[in-house]
């Protein structure tokens, strides 16, 4: 007789001392793990529910904010924890993001501060409706005397600094390029518009800059030829522009028609994507430093976060007291979002509502990674999709969304009726990504 029976030694499996962790032996034979799909699905469902349970996007506000609305924000591309804001009463404040305290406050302009940007040395350029651009020393900000003042002919609406050279561009009734060391603009790049709303330098293709005009145009300029290159006219005005930091030729424009559009500057006859969901004009847009997401602030008192490839928002943030948004920015670590609104507060939000920034144990991290993978795998299951997509929005957004849906449906129905009663092919289907574009012009 040859015999062997199972005879395990408990010493192998039980911890010798109470402080020791007991051994977890694994056997991956699938018959020991039945209902794999069902159990994974249940875990994914729980993870999705927990995600919305733990969603707490609002971190806090910066200091006590401004006494007037916040109309401009500037981040330093080289630093993570400092930010500046400009208000309607002409004050500019510096903030320390780590402590969320006010670093300094200057009454910089007479009238609204429309644009802020950080220079190569880390100094701050501010522009206001009082036709001046002022350069401030951030290291000694209490001086309340600017390092330099640039005088323009009309009120400035925006300013942006070149990535590597000491030049900056401003928008007013025209688009001008300035040298930090000269008092007069070095070139005028205007093309047509009576009033230019904003101007933005491309951060990778550094001599390219884009501006939006009140004639509903977006103009691409090139500082090398000191001239505008091409112009795109849309059905409504664009309020802000943000260049994708990862793809040099891609930029997003926040439009008055409630949408944000993504364009390829090489082919402006169509937009790459349309970001919908807002129910009022989009006032500002900013790309995440990763180039994967963008945040928009709107006149409907909400800010929304979009994935670059999706057409609808991933998340929507709002509070009861937050008024119309005029500026939104991702922080340089892409973990937080700053928003400046009409009632004068600058709010800090998490870009992932349910994430926490504290130190995580390896176990916790593994669990989060596992949950993320499960959610990805079962994201199309109806229940999971419903829970993960659901967002509570204020009633005015809800009503406006419902009304908008009805409007769109009736417009489509009408168009369909016209199409049905017309000659075949005479009423073509308009493309969602193209229909807002009225025309594109190239400068010879």
């Amino acid at each position: 007789m040859i015999i062997k029976t199972l005879s395990r030694s408990s010493d192998t499996y039980l911890p010798a001392r109470s402080t020791e962790i007991s051994r977890v032996s694994r056997n991956l034979d699938p018959s020991l793990h039945p209902f794999e799909r069902a159990r994974e699905y249940t875990r994914a469902l729980n993870a999705t529910k927990l995600e919305s349970v733990f969603a707490a996007p609002f971190v806090g506000q910066l200091g006590n904010g401004h006494t007037d609305g916040v109309y401009s924000l500037a981040k330093d591309f080289g630093k993570i924890n400092s930010v500046a804001s400009g208000s309607g009463d002409g004050t500019v404040k510096f903030w320390d993001l780590t402590s969320r305290d006010q670093h300094a406050s200057i009454s910089a302009h007479k009238g609204i501060v429309k644009g802020l940007t950080v220079t190569l040395e880390g100094n701050l350029l501010s522009c206001g409706m009082d036709s001046t651009v002022k350069l401030w020393d951030v290291s000694a900000p209490d001086s309340s005397v600017p390092l330099k003042t640039f005088l323009g002919s009309s009120g400035f609406t925006g300013v942006d600094h070149h990535r590597s050279r000491p030049t900056f561009a401003t928008s007013s009734s025209k688009v001008e390029v300035w040298d930090l060391n000269r008092s007069k603009p070095i070139s005028d790049l205007s093309w047509g518009a009576d009033n230019v709303n904003t101007v933005k330098f491309n951060q990778s293709e550094q001599s390219i800059l884009a501006s939006t005009g009140s004639d509903r145009s977006i103009v691409i300029h090139d500082t090398r030829s000191s001239s505008p290159v091409q112009k795109l006219v849309t059905s409504m005005r664009s309020n802000a522009i943000s260049w994708n930091p990862m793809e040099a030729f891609v930029f997003a424009a926040a439009n008055e028609d409630f949408n944000t559009y993504l364009y390829d500057m090489r082919k402006l006859t169509r937009s790459l994507n349309v970001y919908k969901n807002h129910v009022a004009a989009v006032m500002d847009v900013d790309f995440s430093p990763t180039g994967q997401e963008l945040v928009t602030g709107s006149y409907d008192k909400t800010l929304r976060i979009f994935r670059v490839r999706d057409g609808h928002s991933r998340d929507v943030y709002h509070t009861k007291r937050m008024q119309r948004l005029f500026c939104v920015k991702f922080t340089m670590d892409a973990k937080y979002i700053l928003s400046g609104s009409d009632e004068g507060n600058i709010r800090v939000w998490r870009s992932e509502a349910s994430s926490r920034s504290g130190a995580q144990s390896a176990r916790q991290r593994t669990k989060l990674e596992y949950d993320a993978a499960l959610k990805e795998r079962y994201k199309n299951m109806p229940e999971i999709r419903r829970i993960s997509r659901h967002r509570h929005v204020p009633s005015h957004i809800k009503t406006a969304t419902d009304i908008m849906k009805i409007e769109i449906a009736s417009r489509e129905r009408k168009e369909e009726n016209v199409r049905r009663r017309s000659k075949k092919g005479s009423v073509p289907y308009s493309k969602e990504r193209e229909k807002h574009i009225l025309g594109v012009a190239l400068k010879e």
């Binding site: 007789m1 040859i2 015999i3 007991s22 032996s25 018959s31 793990h33 039945p34 699905y41």
Partner: protein, 540 residues
Amino acid sequence: MSALEVASGLGLENEDRAIEVASAPTSANGSVKSRPKKKNYKIKDGRLRQSMKRSDEKFRRARAAAKSSELLLQEEAGYLEAEGMEKTYKFNQEELKQSVDITTASKAFDLKLPDFGPYELDYTTNGRKILLGGRKGHIASFDFREGVLDVEFNVNETVRDVKYLHNDQFFAVSQKKYVFIYDKTGAEVHCLKKHIEVTHMEFLRYHFLLATVGNAGWLKYQDTSTGEQVCELRTKLGPSTAMAQNPYNAIIHLGHSNGTVSLWSPNSTTPLVSMLCHKGPVNAVAIDRGGNYMTSAGADGQLKIWDVRMYKEVHAYYTPTPATTLTLSDRGLLGVGWGPHVSVWKDALKVKQKSPYMTHLSPGSAVSDLRFCPFDDILAMGHDNGVSSLIVPGSGEANFDALEANPYETVKQRRETEVQGLLNKLQPEMIALDPNFIGGIDARAPDERKQALRLVTTSETDKIKEENTKLQPKAKTRGKNSALRRYLRKKANNVIDERRLRVQESWEKEKTMRQNYRKQQRGLPVDDTEVGPALSRFGK
């Protein structure tokens, strides 16, 4: 177990921790190496193509990881081999006890309890505790390795079956009339008054469902986490004679006195499958761990192996007297109790065996219940005069997974497992013949799918469809035939006889009458010139 199975089984769990091993298999001599074939993706959509590539890569890595994880299995399964002229089924328990180590020998015990038998048994899922239920009311739960008694009491009434719930802290006992749930200390926690005269119980551990069937033939599911009764299903086949759960898909198999075995899920009021298995009552049913094979024993003396994927008989054995109880171990050993005998068959499911692996006789005491101990080489036997446990080498799964069932779990781990189990509790709606339907694509047409959502099972949709077809009004047109007309038509046309004339006359008459009737119905003036033979001469 192939690596592919493992890969699909372990899913995501290990993919990020995948250990890379050389995926190129080496041939026997090690000289020729074949690289895995590069897949040609003929998908136009770039994003889809990329995601297909990515998921294929994940599967490949999971497969490799699963293969390498086999190294982690450290225990080796038991075995019993005969030398020379010996036969394994000739070895008796005394001989085995002398040749195994002392810890194993201590696990083979014999409890003489002649007063309260016959006994029903149950093990916890981790095989740590055993629960005894004597027909005359004796209940005991104890750790049989340590010899520590948890609780022992007498309920002073008939006990038909006993079952542990999700762990050793609670167990259900079906008594004379109701099912009771007791805790570890023997305190009565619940009395399930809706479960009347229950004869068999099963606990679905991932769903937290206690399924019972009684003399009235009602299969009832009770959720033990919420306390709600999920459903009660009428078998319409009288008392069920056997019950088993399929560990693969949580389907309940019921054996009936008409020889059929029916398969039930809580989502269907009718059995999903009904198989005619025996020419007489079904005495016992057992299903293997993988959910592929079912064994059934009938009063006709047959012991049959079924493939429950095809619902076909694989092979049949017989027992000299009808088998009363069946059990299957984790490694596929089949225990059969017939009269006072126990025979254990090895590899009997896939291949037909000539002789049993082991046999045992408890003289003068009929075997009432058999259970293999999970993760151990022990077979427990309840009989008229008590409970015995037998050494059956090779029956138990050698390597347990501590995250599923841990024989060495601490109190803290047990609590953790309980909480995790409740968090990941599966819903009763997830029980189906194919447990992997979740997350799959429903290929049915949208309207069909919507109806199925309402009715869940396909059998019911079919019934509704049938009913719908029945309800549809048939395109009935009033027949223009009458018996008279048919007579005229059938008769040859060229022969004019008296009968034909008579028939023609009455047919004409019938025709005008019918026409008049229709006119009357429509409210048109009726041509009533025809007033009968007597009065017609006054007309015109």
